[in-house]
């Protein structure tokens, strides 16, 4: 079972790198959605017997992360009429390298953390840290609002992975709350993206700095 879980986490970590390396917004959204779905089925793998609650949560997660949020983002992208992040603050290759370095660092760090013995074997902590780092890197390095939202999604996926450590004691309560927040956030961002596009004729968040004070 742990093998299945580790395989899924490895897939998610690979998707992080894809997300960091791509310049096209549709594929970035697709990667985030795919990662969300991969994460969504993880509770099913972890739970020993399938309970209704776990199944319901898995279905809800897959539906929201894999379908609803990407749909919202695609709509925003279409309204804004862009599909590329042409001028990233950190280039694609450097961010890919940084992401890879972060992944190695995450694995090293996870091996040094004082974890419970049953978590030593799994990649959960490493994958979680790597996803958080990849998400932060997207947030720092991309200029378009939509890619930054994808960064938030991946960041949240990392937090979700960490929450899976506690699945036996706190069954996805925290995660449910975060997910709700995030959906609303994406919804709002979708609207704001539309407005920014109309007001500034661009989605470059760097131009928003002139609004301060």
């Amino acid at each position: 079972m742990n093998d299945w879980l580790n395989l899924l986490i490895g897939l998610a970590m690979g998707l992080n790198l894809v997300a960091l390396g791509t310049s096209r917004l549709p594929s970035l959204i697709r990667v985030a959605a795919l990662q969300g779905m991969v994460l969504g089925i993880m509770p099913l793998v972890i739970e020993h017997e399938l309970r209704l609650l776990a199944v319901a949560v898995a279905i809800a997660t897959v539906a929201i992360k894999g379908l609803v949020i990407p749909a919202l983002l695609r709509r925003a992208m279409r309204t804004a009429n862009i599909d590329r992040d042409l001028h990233p603050l950190i280039g694609f290759l450097p961010s890919l390298l940084l992401g890879a370095a972060g992944m190695i660092g995450a694995v090293v760090l996870a091996s040094r953390l004082p974890l419970l013995p049953e978590h030593h074997e799994s990649l959960l902590v490493a994958g979680s840290l790597a996803s958080v780092l990849a998400g932060l890197l997207l947030l720092i390095g991309r200029s378009k609002a939509i890619s930054q939202v994808c960064g938030y999604l991946i960041l949240e996926n990392g937090i979700y992975l960490f929450g899976l450590l506690l699945i036996h004691s706190v069954p996805l309560l925290v995660e449910g709350g975060i997910l709700l927040d995030l959906t609303v956030a994406v919804f709002v961002t979708g609207i704001i993206v539309d407005r920014i596009q109309r007001a500034f004729d661009s989605l470059d968040t760097r131009k928003l700095t002139v609004l301060r004070e």
């Binding site: 603050l89 760090l109 040094r112 780092l133 932060l136 947030l139 720092i140 390095g141 991309r142 200029s143 930054q148 968040t205 760097r206 700095t209 301060r212 004070e213």
Partner: protein, 648 residues
């Protein structure tokens, strides 16, 4: 019980004075004088052998009960606060009247009463928390007094510098008192010599109180604040307020255990302050700035005395330590009296001519005979010339130094250079005051403002006469003060109890009396002789060149050039010289400016560096979200690294 009423009465009168100051100058003057007189009475009651006054409130302020205490040491400084506080109030009526300063005169009266009150409270508070509160209120009152004339740019700059430096010192005091409270478990202050772990706190106190006391590298605020404040404020700042820093040092060096090197460090700082203060004073062209640097010098003399006393306590309570401490304490009074007198005199000159620049004055002796005589009297006293009071206290310090050097202990290594430094200081101070008195009052007027000078009124003259009288009393009857000093010494260090006045002090008193009598006789004889024979009148600083123009007189700068040349390495005078060129030179000039070396060469560059660094940081604050996230990640990574690798 009587003391309760007296002190409560003084506090109430001063508060009432502060409230009435803005509107009712006469009421204010009466209340301030009554308040300071009451304070003076309580101080002398305590010094004269009255029981130590101790009072605790039944209510709490800031979570602590108020605890006031008046012992001999507090009373010693309280007497000074009362004398200069009262004298300055009278002086202000002539010097800073409503008709000349309608905007600031009322404000000045209010803050004057507040300053006197807060300084008295600093001396009375025996609780660390309330001590800090009183200290802060005292610093703020002084700030408002310094900036009375705030429409002038230099005054505002001086005020801000004072405020910043004062708060740097207060920060040290916050650290000191809170560490003290943490280690002893209570804010109560009192003797705690048995807590050996408190010894390192002395260094924090030395910084905090040293800023206020104007110790040499920490004196940066002092010259500009004293020069730009109104003169009665300069008098109380220089005569009394900087003594509060000294009071803190004396108080806590008496109560706390001392670290091993305390005496050496205080002695060294005192010697540096004394010599460099005198050197800077000599080089100044601004009369009040000269007096301000002279305060640094005199604080140095007092610190030398204190340092020797600390060495004495560390070497088994030797008699020489006691002598030096007595000299330091007496110098506190002496300096308070003659420095206030000199600042009042400088204020009188400033009031009459509107300028503090000595190179624009000269020949004021004719127009202002009272001011000139009193200023000369004060100059002689501060230069420690016998038979005046400055000589008595410096002589006690010298006695302590000589006895310490003769004791053939390890201490002599530091004592001999300190003695030499004190000697050099005396010579430089004398040169500085010859320069000040002579350039301002003798010779011919250098400019029109000096020609049109007028004598000050009685409101200003009376306090000067009173202070001169105090100086004369201290000079002629030094042994009469000894019982007071002896009580302060016992309070500071119980091992130094008892003891009659040193025989040489009584001898000195008689010598001074004889000298003063013979000087008076000589003066009268000279007066009679000049009455009968007539006298040839000539200009003092003539040098044969006073015609065609008075500007060709010998100047203060050229008088001081030789001595200040020896200190060129620290004075770093900025000179601009245009040589006369060709057979018929059109124009030639020479400008010399003495910078504030510590401020401009040390603090200034450090401040600039901080500003550059801050500007750089400000550039990184451009409201860009990705940047902020980057800082967040970096900080997180740094903390993670600290946790991971810091524990290895």
């Amino acid at each position: 019980m009587m003391m309760d009423w007296l002190i409560a009465g003084a506090v109430i009168m001063l508060v009432a004075a502060a409230l009435s100051g803005a509107r009712f100058p006469r009421v204010w003057l009466a209340l301030t004088l009554a308040g300071t007189a009451t304070l003076l009475a309580t101080a002398f009651w305590t010094l004269g052998g009255g029981a130590e006054w101790d009072w605790r409130s039944s209510f709490a302020v800031g979570g602590e009960r108020i605890h006031l205490r008046l012992d001999a040491l507090s009373a010693w400084f309280l007497a000074l606060v009362a004398v200069v506080g009262g004298g300055g109030a009278v002086y202000a009526r002539g010097y800073w009247p409503d008709c000349e300063h309608p905007a600031s005169a009322g404000r000045g009266r209010t803050w004057w009463s507040m300053l006197v009150l807060c300084m008295s409270l600093v001396l009375l508070c025996a609780n660390g928390l309330h001590f800090l509160m009183a200290w802060e209120a005292f610093a703020l009152s002084a700030f408002f007094l310094i900036t009375l004339e705030r429409e002038r740019r230099e005054t505002r700059a001086a005020g801000w510098l004072y405020l910043a430096a004062s708060h740097a010192g207060t920060l040290g005091l916050f650290a000191f008192f809170s560490l003290l409270a943490t280690k002893t478990g209570s804010w109560e202050l009192g003797p705690m010599r048995d807590h050996a772990e408190l010894a390192p706190l002395f260094w924090v106190a030395l910084f905090g109180f040293g800023v206020k006391a104007g110790m040499f590298p920490l004196h940066i605020w002092l010259p500009s604040a004293h020069a730009n404040a109104p003169s009665h404020v300069s008098a109380i700042m220089s005569g009394v307020a900087i003594k509060m820093g000294l009071y803190g040092l004396v108080r806590f060096s008496g109560w706390l255990p001392l670290p091993a090197g305390a005496g050496w460090v205080v002695l060294a700082l005192g010697a540096v302050s004394a010599v460099l203060g005198a050197a800077f004073a000599l080089a100044q062209n601004d009369l009040k700035r000269l007096l301000a640097y002279c305060s640094v010098e005199n604080m140095g003399v007092i610190l030398i005395g204190l340092g020797v006393a600390l060495l004495g306590t560390a070497n088994g309570d030797t008699a020489w330590g006691r002598l030096a401490m007595a000299g330091a304490l007496l110098h506190v009074w002496n300096h308070g009296a003659f420095k206030a007198l000199l600042f009042f005199g400088a204020g009188s000159v400033l009031h009459a001519t509107g300028t503090r620049e000595m190179s624009r004055l000269g020949g004021l002796w004719r127009a202002m005979p009272w001011t000139a005589s009193l200023f000369a009297f004060g100059s002689a006293a501060i230069s420690a010339l016998p038979p005046l009071n400055g000589f008595v206290s410096e002589w006690l310090v010298y006695l302590g130094l000589f006895d310490a050097a003769a004791s053939h202990t390890r201490v002599a290594v530091a004592i001999v250079p300190a003695t030499i430094a004190l000697g050099v200081t005396g010579a430089l101070a004398l040169a500085g005051f010859v320069k000040a008195s002579a350039v301002v009052f003798l010779g011919a007027p250098r400019t029109q403002v000096a020609v049109h000078a007028h004598e000050c009124g009685w409101w200003m003259r009376a306090p000067m006469l009173a202070l001169a009288g105090i100086c004369a009393c201290l000079a002629l009857a030094p042994a009469a003060v000894w019982p007071f000093i002896s009580r302060v010494l016992v309070g500071w260090r119980s091992a130094w109890s008892g003891g009659k006045p040193p025989a040489s002090l009584i001898t000195l008193g008689y010598t001074h009396l004889a000298l003063a009598a013979s000087l008076t006789v000589a003066a009268i004889a000279l007066w009679f002789r000049s009455r009968t024979n007539g006298v040839r009148r000539a200009l003092t600083w003539d040098c044969g060149y006073a015609l065609p123009t008075a500007r060709m007189q010998y100047t203060g700068g050229s008088f001081a050039a030789l001595a200040s040349g020896w200190f060129g390495w620290v004075l770093r005078p900025e000179r601009r010289l245009h040589w006369p060129r060709g057979p018929f030179p059109r124009q030639a000039d020479f400008v010399e400016r003495i910078p504030e070396t510590v401020l401009e060469r040390v603090i200034g560059p450090v401040g600039d560096a901080v500003m550059v660094a801050s500007a750089w940081v400000r550039q990184r604050q451009q409201g860009s979200l990705p940047d902020y996230i980057l800082y967040l990640v970096a900080a997180l990574a740094a903390m993670g690294a600290l946790v991971l690798f810091g524990s290895i």
